[in-house]
């Protein structure tokens, strides 16, 4: 998008000289307060709104070059309330675009069934009508319908805003999974900064008046907000949230305070000195924390145990998750487990704090370039 402006007939300037280079095959999120011109920007990409000034190029070619319906059919479109056709079954809703571009009925339906599976909809819903589905399911149908003819571009306008937080998280995870498989160029509009940070490879923060405030990968947004507006918009706990982008792989865990439930007196003595001991079962799964004085050799599981809290998986989880485990742990120590849930060690808040400091040091004063494509190192928050 090159210096694009949209002025509505009533004089409202919804988008003001916006220049943006949207990278291929990744998720670009437009985020900002309500009324800042996100929807207008998105709708200029499929020409539901025509810009007043400036040009929009797609793969170097002006959008105005091709017929508008051809353009739109090459871009999936998902809106807030899904906008399903209530007179059509779920299967036929999804088959809309394939039917429109002349695929046969049979082929379109087969494709639709394939997409239902892809977006996590049970095949038994195929013959239902939209009113028989929950909001979250309807939104999945909306995504499937947009993907049906395999368009290279996907435009999404607050697609998950109308569903409750639990369902929203499921839909977000699903979108990331689908994106891993399909590698579409997605432009995603939201007013929710957390959603932007979770989904975006690049995030464009817009301010009221339709101006671009910052365009950067999420980690950079959190470490180096361009100005007070962006900083405010990110919210008070951006330091904590930034930890989502650091891996917990480098955390030094210790097995010193870890004892099996059938530990002998010598083994107990070896662990002596630790303020708390983590008791595990014979398969190394955590049972709980105990005070060393409460323990008698032979059957530790019988002792009074404190909850071990939610464990984290070093490498797979972020430093934020590890810190969260430590903060929630009654002893202040976080429990590290492997993929099978077997204890690999424990780590103190202090050690995590040191890891945070060194991670920040390594990231450096993050004056990194906005053009830099985000690498794929984002870890689960």
């Amino acid at each position: 998008m090159d210096s694009v402006t949209k002025r509505y007939p009533d004089g409202t300037v919804a988008v003001d000289r916006l220049s943006l280079e949207i990278p291929d095959r990744s998720i670009t999120v437009l985020v900002g307060p309500s009324g800042c011109g996100k929807t207008t920007t998105l709708r200029m990409i499929n020409r539901m709104v025509e810009p007043s000034e400036g040009t929009i190029l797609l793969d170097g070619e002006d959008l105005q070059q091709q017929p508008v319906t051809t353009l739109r059919r090459s871009m999936g479109y998902v809106i807030q309330n899904a906008g399903l056709f209530q007179h059509r079954t779920i299967l036929d809703n999804i088959a809309t675009v394939p039917r429109m571009i002349g695929w046969g009925k049979q082929k379109s339906r087969e494709r639709a069934a394939e997409l239902m599976a892809r977006v996590g909809l049970d095949a038994s819903l195929a013959k239902r009508y939209p009113y028989q589905l929950s909001g979250g399911q309807q939104q999945r149908v909306g995504v499937a319908r947009a993907l049906a003819a395999d368009p290279p571009v996907l435009l999404m306008d607050e697609p998950f805003s109308a569903v409750d937080p639990v369902v929203r998280k499921g839909l977000q995870d699903e979108l990331l999974r689908i994106q891993d498989e399909l590698g579409k160029t997605i432009v995603f509009v939201t007013h929710d900064i957390d959603e932007a940070i979770k989904l975006g490879t690049m995030v464009a923060v817009m301010r009221t008046g339709g101006r671009l405030a910052q365009f950067a990968p999420p980690a950079e947004l959190l470490s180096a907000p361009a100005d007070d507006f962006v900083e405010d918009f990110l919210g008070a706990d951006r330091g904590i949230r930034r930890l989502s982008f650091f891996s917990s792989a480098a955390l030094e865990t210790t097995t010193g305070p870890v004892v099996r439930a059938d530990a002998t007196a010598e083994q107990l003595a070896a662990a002596d000195g630790a303020p708390h001991l983590l008791v595990t079962d014979a398969d190394d799964r955590p049972l709980g924390w105990a005070e060393p004085g409460d323990l008698a050799a032979g059957d530790l599981a019988g002792a009074r145990l404190l909850s071990h809290g939610r464990p984290f998986v070093p490498g797979a989880d972020s430093l934020r998750a590890a810190l969260d485990c430590a903060v929630l742990s009654p002893t202040g120590w976080a429990v590290a487990v492997d993929g099978e849930g077997r204890v690999t060690g424990v780590v103190s808040q202090q050690t995590i704090g040191e890891a945070i400091r060194s991670a920040h040091g390594a990231a450096g004063p993050a004056e990194t370039r906005a053009e830099e494509p985000a690498d794929g190192t984002k870890v689960a928050p």
Partner: protein, 221 residues
Amino acid sequence: MNVLHFVNAFFSDSAHWHGYDGIPARLLEHVQYTLLALGLAAAVGLPAGLLTGHTGRGGNAVAFVATAARALPSFGLLVLIAVAVGIGLLPVMIPLVVLAVPPILVTTYEAVRSVDPSPVDAARGLGMHERGILFRVELPVALPLILSGLRSAAIQVVSTATIAAYVSLGGLGRYIIDGLYQRDFEKVVGGATLVALMALVTLAVFWAAGRLAVSPGVRRR
């Protein structure tokens, strides 16, 4: 002597079941007038209502046409046109069509206007042509309301088509007018009963059409 007696007498008289003045013949005539008038009114009202409803333009014109047409008395129009062009089918059809257009036009317009805008937006965004949006997105959802407009038009035409008899045409109005003229109340009541029955049949026909044509996803059952 009560109404039921007249009804009974009328329908049990076998003479009323044969010939050009028999019940089947008059009923058929009445149905023909109704269908013709309704067909003409739909040919005017449906496209106009769909188009204005889809584009959102011309709402004021729709309201004006509807009000103006409702203000015209059917019987007065009949007499006026009969005087102007003479007796025949035309002076009957014009007031019937004028009567039937407003409910069809106005409800069709309103029905299309009131369709949820988000599926329309989605369809447009997915690259559907405007004609496709009107016929494959808006019309199926607006259909129950459109049918209800057609139904009120049909009911009004069924009862008003009796005026055809005033200009020497047939239909069920024949019994009522001839009966009144001949002081044959059996005939008057019989004719009126048949008109009422036809109105009920019309309701049933539209109910069935709704079941068949409206998607279960719109009916929500």
